[in-house]
Amino acid sequence: MTLYAVILIAVLVAMLMTLIRALLGPSLFDRVLAVNSLGTKTVLLIAATGFLMGRPEFLDIALAYALINFIGTVAILKFFELPDPGTSHYSEDDY
């Protein structure tokens, strides 16, 4: 029990620091980075909470979170990169 509590507190502290970066973050990319990092920490938070409550079934939600987190980050970045809405790909020369 103590183990899960210690992990939970550490995750909460890390989440607070990530939140600070999201609030300060001079560029938009800093904020996106903070969202992505916060998502990973939320996955850990959910997993540790499930163990603390003695119900590891919460892991399904944590797994789905990891998926949503990745897809959301890539989608947001795709938005920053595209020159205007509606065009959905860039050519081979861009690499």
Binding site: Y4, I7, A14, M17, V32, L33, V43, A48, T73, E81
Partner: protein, 133 residues
């Protein structure tokens, strides 16, 4: 006996994981520019998830006796190990492409302009090769 062994294995691993977690978060707040912060965030994303995931897998197997929970945790860890570096790479490349210039410890820019950053992002060579040429 099992409890003791489990504690001996779990606690040091958990502390290592927490060190990864908190040091990555401290770096996220304190490091000077986006690219260095990206590096410290990926310490949390991969290192902490890997180690803490391993601790939780051990706990799931020994304390809860739930094989399914261990498999789900393993899936989470593997998935995070695949996606976190990809997300970091996409983030760094997009930032470079839109002209974010990396800086060194003193806040001096490492590239002369944001156009140079965009050019670097579009080229296949890395920075040192570009300087040599």
């Amino acid at each position: 006996m099992t409890d003791f062994l489990l504690a001996v294995v779990s606690w040091p691993l958990a502390i290592v994981g927490i060190v990864f977690l908190v040091s990555g978060a401290v770096g996220l707040v304190r490091l000077p520019d986006l690219y260095t912060r990206l590096h410290s965030a990926s310490v949390t994303d991969t290192g902490a998830t890997l180690v803490l995931g391993f601790v939780l897998i051990l706990q799931a197997l020994v304390v809860f006796g739930s094989f399914m929970a261990a498999i789900k945790l393993l899936m989470i860890v593997v998935f995070t190990l695949l996606t976190a570096p990809t997300a970091s790479h996409v983030l760094a490349k997009t930032a470079l492409l839109t002209g974010q210039v990396p800086v060194d410890g003193q806040g001096k820019p490492l590239l002369e302009s944001s156009e140079a950053a965009t050019r670097l992002a579009r080229s296949r060579v890395d920075a040192t090769d570009a300087e040599d040429a």
